[in-house]
Amino acid sequence: MASVARKNLFEDIPRFLVAQAGIMFAVSLVTIQTGILNGFSRSTSALIDDSEVDIWVSAEEMVNLQLTLPIPAATVSEIHAMDGVEQAEAFISRTTTWRSPTGDIAPVQMIGFDPASRMFRMGQLTEGAIANLQEPYTVIPDRANLGALGLDEVGQSASINSLPVTITGFTRGTQSIASSAYVFASLRTANAYLNSGLTTTSNCQLEGDRLTCSNMFERDASDIALDPPRALRGSDGITFVMVKAQPGQDLNVLSRRIEAEFDGMVAHTQTELSTLTRNYWVGSTGIGFVLGLGAGVGVVVGVVIVSQILYASVVDHMKEFGTLKAMGASDWMIYRIIIEQALWMAILGYIPSIALCGGLGWWTFATQGITILITPGTAVVVLGITVGMCVVSALFAIQKVTHVDPAIVFKA
């Protein structure tokens, strides 16, 4: 026999469509908010997650990938020399100032790495090649930031910290929503831009009980000529040492050994640093709360809409439900009809919503570079929320039908 619930649902198509639109709105709101949170969280640690680095070594004050104190570049070779370490490379990540071709300035996160590295990945190149970064004073930005950086195409020129820069390619899928625009460069180039050839001299004089200081900024004569950037010296500051362990090494043990060897430094596995960075941004920005609140509103809206539709449907069929009760049907049989109706509404609202959000996520990534990350786990959780929302909504209708007086069947 056909399902009474399904037939009741499809009996009034316009009302069914209104209900489904409401459910789709609620499901989409929850999915998008969750997807944005996932995308935000994922974007903050994308550089870490996409790398093949086993251990990240940094100053012990390190807060996340973008916020740490410098460590000497000499640490790289020292760590490389340790037992159990296969490869060690320098990684630079610091904020500096970008001046666009039109003269507008913007903050950028300069990411310096060895272009020949087998450990670090800078997303998916859409134009150019990583090897292009071997050319001095060249960078590869993320496509998501073309507008912010005032760029249109490869080959354009701009400046960083008053030094000229040429765009040699574009990448995508790397940008953290929480950070300034990423620009990728070789270690040498990054080091040159971050130190930018400027030297600072402080001159302080004690006059009586008063200390007077003045700062003098001077450009190095060799930088004016734009010589090729020099190789990193041991005293230059870097932000991380990326470590590839030898096969079979216990990463936690190796991390503890590195920390014991280098005073004032901390070693994190890839997972640890990723979690640290995500938690920092999600926690410190309050974005988790804001997006969670939005998702909660979506659930409330969904419950209200589904409740109203189910309640109206039950009221419309009160006489039939009363008839079933008069005939001797158990309460559970009637509840089952209502709950089945709610489940049908959940499933039929969920499927198009997830498809819609998937399409929206693709569109936002393609056009805005913003990731709305709908993972299989997210889809399952949202399905659970949708089903829960509809079943909770059914409780109102069940409450109504529980109190139906079977004597109403004898009223014309």
Binding site: A2, V4, K7, T323, A326, M327, G328, V409
Partner: protein, 260 residues
């Protein structure tokens, strides 16, 4: 004595039943068959807004099994209230109701529901069919409610529709059926799983004269074929000739003849 004709009302002596109480409002006769429906000293008082409104007053009733019992009376006389009580849907203020020998006034709500499910088929004035279900599905739903398996329910539903002359309407929705056809679907539904009691509330009220008579003829014929007891509440005098016995209810009191 067995009913020999549907054309004239028959009254049954009920000497096999317990002696009625002296206060009985209906002079009970002796009859050879066991009472399918028995009510003793039924009173029903509705209370509303601080006032009380008596609907039934000391009603005594015996309906032998296998007959078509008509319960007539004007609007507001308490017919539907009495039917609701006899069906175990409404609880009387006091008094007892025995159906098929069981005291339903002592049953819990759950026991009553189970009793109705197994023993009573209902027919309503407004048909009360599920509008989204076809004729066959409406009958199937009743069978499924009684625990009949899906496959058997489908076959049984089609058989019942054939018996009420609606085999060709099995896949029609109620909105595509005439009033008479809807009531015939309701009869098929009431006969699902062959309950010993059938209770009908104004089954002809929404039908024209011809359809009404046809529906009642059908109901009575099927009930007689199956030796089922039918209690029918109506104020339609056109169907009086199909009943085995007629009682009148006026101002909450049962009589053998109409008082007005």
């Amino acid at each position: 004595m067995v009913v020999s004709s549907l054309q004239s009302p028959v009254t049954y002596p009920i000497h096999s039943l317990p002696a009625p109480a002296a206060s009985s409002s209906y002079p009970v006769e002796h009859q050879p068959r066991r009472a399918a429906i028995a009510a003793d000293h039924l009173n029903m008082v509705f209370r509303s807004g601080g006032g009380s409104y008596p609907a039934l007053s000391d009603v005594q009733l015996r309906v032998p099994s296998g007959i078509v019992q008509l319960l007539m009376g004007p609007s507001g006389s308490g017919k539907t209230t009495l039917l609701s009580i006899l069906a175990g849907i409404l609880t009387p203020t006091d008094g007892a109701v025995h159906l098929l020998g069981e005291d339903i006034t002592q049953m819990s709500r759950r026991e009553l529901a189970r009793f109705r499910l197994e023993n009573i088929g209902f027919i309503f004035q407004g048909f009360n069919l599920f509008p989204a279900l076809t004729a066959a599905e409406n009958v199937e739903l009743a069978l499924k409610t009684k625990g009949v398996s899906r496959r058997f329910a489908r076959k049984e539903a089609l058989d019942l529709l054939e018996q009420v002359g609606l085999a060709d309407k099995a896949k029609q929705l109620p909105k595509n059926l005439s009033g008479g056809q809807k009531q015939r679907v309701a009869i098929a539904r009431a006969l699902a799983s062959d309950p010993p009691l059938i209770m009908a509330d104004e089954p002809t009220a929404a039908l024209d004269s011809h359809s009404g008579h046809a529906v009642i003829d059908l109901l009575c014929r099927l009930a007689k074929e199956r030796d089922r007891t039918v209690l029918m509440v109506t104020h339609d005098p056109r169907i009086i000739d199909v009943a085995d016995r007629v009682l009148y209810l006026e101002d909450g009191k049962l009589t053998q003849t109409p008082q007005s």
